[in-house]
């Protein structure tokens, strides 16, 4: 046994029907280190962690914890061995308290009355745990009433409460703001100083270099490389992930002649959410909408799309003043690619085919009868032109990767012949290779005269993709910047409401 290793995964293989999800993968973790696990969607990161957590079995290989072979066959056994996993989708119960969530499944027993829970002790221990993480959350608050960042901290506390030696975090920052990420990283450092080993899965490569000690890259279910972070470079990691060199992360090498005004918003006001918004997007340009989480960007997009009402002002799309529902917007060529595409953009249990045509049935089949042959032809066209990676157009959408799902949402709006598209966080949770493809598609769209409004929290994305940028702060547009004027500092300053 190697000295200082808390975990060794040796030659793990896992077969799903039709897919070899893990192929002879080895991985180890030292006490007190943060080991980054990266790879494109479908590379096998989550599967590997589910094997470790006992949520999946494995076909070959073995798990060694503290030098002892561990037989993990269900989540309870993994927990007993000190393996604690924080999944991407939070595993909290909304109408239980913070303390009840932290101790879910391990409630302390009442010292006197058998069968009852010792709420007093549970609360005190939860309080102590939260304090040790430097988090200010009331253990008796209902989880339902907490913000995302606080919920994340509850997850961390929950992971610690089992005396975890190994903590796995799957994309922990994807819903956090910059300040909250700082808080989370501080909590992670407290863990590692206690000797806890942290496995950290992330799509954000900057984080790798900020918090990681070592980094392991998986690709197509195989181990590719393990590096010390100080020996790694961003380009090198990306190359290892995608298996090919990517010239530029955010390609943009042309500017279009600006065409007609696609959308014009005048003095829009929505009580408590949006104030005095005036903006335009023209055909042939990508307009970036920057701002911190909660600045009102998604809310603005929803109002423009007609999904939410507004109190004052005017929205004009392709020269027409619009007032009504999304139905009206879709009819005149507006499409919204929502941030939460799994919930708002797609019907996950329906096949790809139906997701593509669902908003265009009236246009495609005016008689009301769906003709399969035509549907097949239309969808196959989009699969080809957008290069959608799917074994079949009948594939259930939930089995597709994040990037492919985003392309399906895009195909849906191209199918309605949208000419004004709103992308809300177009590449969130999408791996590097697919990200570049989405960006390329957006560029193609404006080349062909479409207008795009892009909301993004990733500043490099905003800077590289946008022709113009609006910065929002607390429901207002605080600044409009041209591509040339924009840089990270300026955007951040206006996003935080700091006026020079």
């Amino acid at each position: 046994m190697a000295e200082g290793l808390v975990l060794q995964l040796e030659g793990i293989s896992k077969q799903f029907p039709g897919v070899r999800a893990l192929d002879d993968v080895s991985f180890d973790l030292r006490h007190g280190e943060v080991h980054m696990l990266v790879g494109e969607n479908g590379a096998g990161k989550s599967t590997l962690m589910k094997v470790l957590a006992g949520a999946y079995g494995h076909d070959a290989g073995r798990i060694v914890i503290n030098g002892q072979p561990a037989d993990i066959r269900n989540p309870a056994q993994a927990l007993a061995l000190g393996v604690s996993v924080i999944y991407q989708e939070f595993n909290l119960v909304p109408y239980l308290s913070v303390a009840q969530n932290i101790f879910l499944g391990r409630e302390p027993r009442h010292p006197k009355i058998p069968g009852l829970i010792d709420h007093t002790r549970m609360k005190a221990e939860a309080q102590a745990l939260l304090e040790s993480l430097g988090v200010d959350v009331d253990p008796q608050a209902m989880v339902h009433d907490l913000g995302v960042a606080q919920q994340q901290m509850v997850e961390v506390a929950k992971a610690l409460s089992v005396n975890a030696q190994i903590v796995v975090m799957d994309e922990p920052t994807s819903a956090l703001t910059t300040r909250e990420i700082v808080q989370l990283f501080a909590a992670i450092r407290r863990l590692t100083t206690r000797g806890v080993g942290v496995i950290y899965i992330s799509h954000r490569l900057e984080e790798v270099f900020e918090i990681g000690d070592r980094i392991t890259v998986l690709r197509d279910g195989k181990w590719i490389t393990t590096l010390n972070v100080q020996d790694a470079t961003m380009d090198g990691v990306i190359q290892a992930m995608v298996g090919r060199a990517i010239d530029r992360l955010f390609p943009r090498d042309f500017m279009m002649e600006k065409g007609e005004v696609a959308v014009a918003v005048h003095n829009l006001h929505r009580h408590g959410v949006l104030q005095d918004i005036t903006m335009t997007v023209r055909c042939g340009e990508i307009v970036g909408l920057a701002g911190l989480v909660g600045a009102g960007r998604t809310e603005l997009a929803r109002v423009i799309f007609g999904a939410d009402p507004y109190d004052e002002g005017e929205v004009e799309i392709f020269g027409r003043t619009v007032r009504g529902s999304p139905t009206e917007r879709v009819a005149i060529g507006v499409g919204l690619l929502p941030e939460d595409r799994k919930r708002e953009g797609l019907a996950l249990i329906l096949p790809l085919r139906e997701n593509v045509v669902v908003a265009s049935l009236r246009r495609l089949f005016p008689s009301g009868i769906i003709r399969r042959a035509k549907e097949h032809a239309v969808v196959t066209d989009f699969v080809k032109s957008l290069d959608i990676a799917t074994p079949s157009i009948n594939r259930m959408t939930k089995f597709l990767s994040g990037g492919t799902q985003q392309k399906v949402v895009l195909a849906k709006w191209l199918c309605t012949q949208s000419r004004f598209l709103i992308f809300d966080e177009p590449t969130r949770g999408i791996d590097v290779g697919a990200k570049a493809e989405i960006h390329q598609l957006m560029n193609e769209l404006v080349k062909h005269g479409a207008a795009i409004l892009m909301i993004s929290s990733e500043l490099p994305e905003v800077l590289n993709m946008s022709d113009r940028i609006y910065v929002m702060h607390k429901g207002r547009i605080t600044k409009e910047l041209s591509r040339e004027e924009a840089n990270q500092e300026t955007i951040l300053r206006h996003a935080m409401g700091v006026t020079p």
Partner: protein, 315 residues
């Protein structure tokens, strides 16, 4: 009960569900429009009549909190009453007869629970099936007629008093306290909220979710058995069809009480208010002289009204 439990209690009453308002409005209305409503005798009557409903609705609350539903509880209560009466007639002794009634309820709960939790079948369909089974079985056992004349020992559970309080009301209070402690002070109760709120999280915490989910239905069925005792005692007879429709009132009580069909949101105290509102409504309509058919219709309208008001209030 800890101090905070009272704190949250007060907060919950503050943002009270439709039931509380429905109860107040209905009570005021019937006080104004009838002379008999606001009399001790009538209010006791409401409490007595409401006791069966409350006991069944307590179990229904836990089932709905766990994101389930149990349509069979009405007929199961009817069947348990029939079993109770048959056992009494067979001279097995009242204690054993009561146990038999509760066991019958529990067994139907077990059947529901196993089908729903083990096989993953939808609760609505499973309990619709057992609804028919329990109803049919009760009719077969009684050949369609009632079993009257069960004697003073059974009637004690309607007429008897402990410290001057009617036995059904005592039983209801005890049932509430027991279920309250189970829901808020035991693992089982915590897991009921978790089953409804995030079953995946519960499974990943290493908890045997199917066991607990089954347990919820067993508890609901067992409580229907207890309710059968009160019901049978009140009539001094078992009627095979007496329970039909009770599941409707029970679900109505839970909804009026502010328990939601989504994500394990709700509270037990609300169900008491909900059941009392339903009982007051039925009692008052009786006093006014509206038929039972109209009463069912009115209960339906009150439910719709309550959830409309709640949604407008943004709860």
């Amino acid at each position: 009960m800890s101090e905070t439990a009272w704190g949250t209690w007060a907060r919950r009453v503050g943002m009270a569900p439709g039931a509380v308002y429905a109860l107040v409005v209905l009570s005021l209305t019937f006080t104004l429009f009838t002379t008999q409503f606001l009399t001790l005798r009538n209010l006791t009557n409401v409490g007595m009549q409401g006791s069966v409903l409350i006991i069944v609705a307590l179990g229904m609350t836990l089932i709905i909190l766990s994101q389930g539903i149990d349509l069979s509880l009405g007929p199961v209560m009817g069947l348990a009453g029939v079993v109770l009466a048959l056992a009494v007639k067979q001279q097995v002794g009242l204690p054993l007869a009561i146990v038999a009634a509760i066991v019958v309820g529990g067994c139907f709960g077990l059947l529901n629970g196993v089908l729903i939790a083990r096989l993953g079948l939808p609760p609505f369909v499973v309990t619709l099936g057992t609804f028919g089974m329990a109803q049919g079985l009760a009719l077969v056992l009684t050949q369609g007629s009632s079993i009257p004349g069960l004697g003073p020992a059974v009637q004690y559970f309607n007429d008897g008093r402990i410290l001057g309080v009617q036995v059904p009301i005592i039983m209801t209070a005890v049932a509430f306290l027991v279920v309250y402690v189970i829901l808020y002070y035991t693992k089982f109760g915590t897991y009921v909220f978790a089953l409804g709120g995030n079953q995946e999280a519960l499974a990943l915490a290493g908890v045997r979710t199917r066991l607990y989910k089954t347990g919820v239905y067993v508890l609901g069925g067992g409580l229907a058995g207890v309710a059968a005792l009160v019901m049978t005692a009140r009539m001094n007879a078992a009627h095979p069809t007496v329970g039909v429709g009770l599941e409707f009132d029970a679900i109505a009580s839970v909804i009026l009480g502010g328990t939601s069909f989504e994500r394990g949101k709700g509270w037990l105290g609300g169900t008491i208010f909900g059941a009392l509102a339903v009982s007051v409504l039925r009692n008052g309509l009786n006093l006014i002289g509206l038929s039972t058919s109209w009463q069912v219709s009115m209960v339906g309208m009150v439910i719709i009204l309550a959830i409309v008001v709640d949604s407008l209030r943004g709860i």
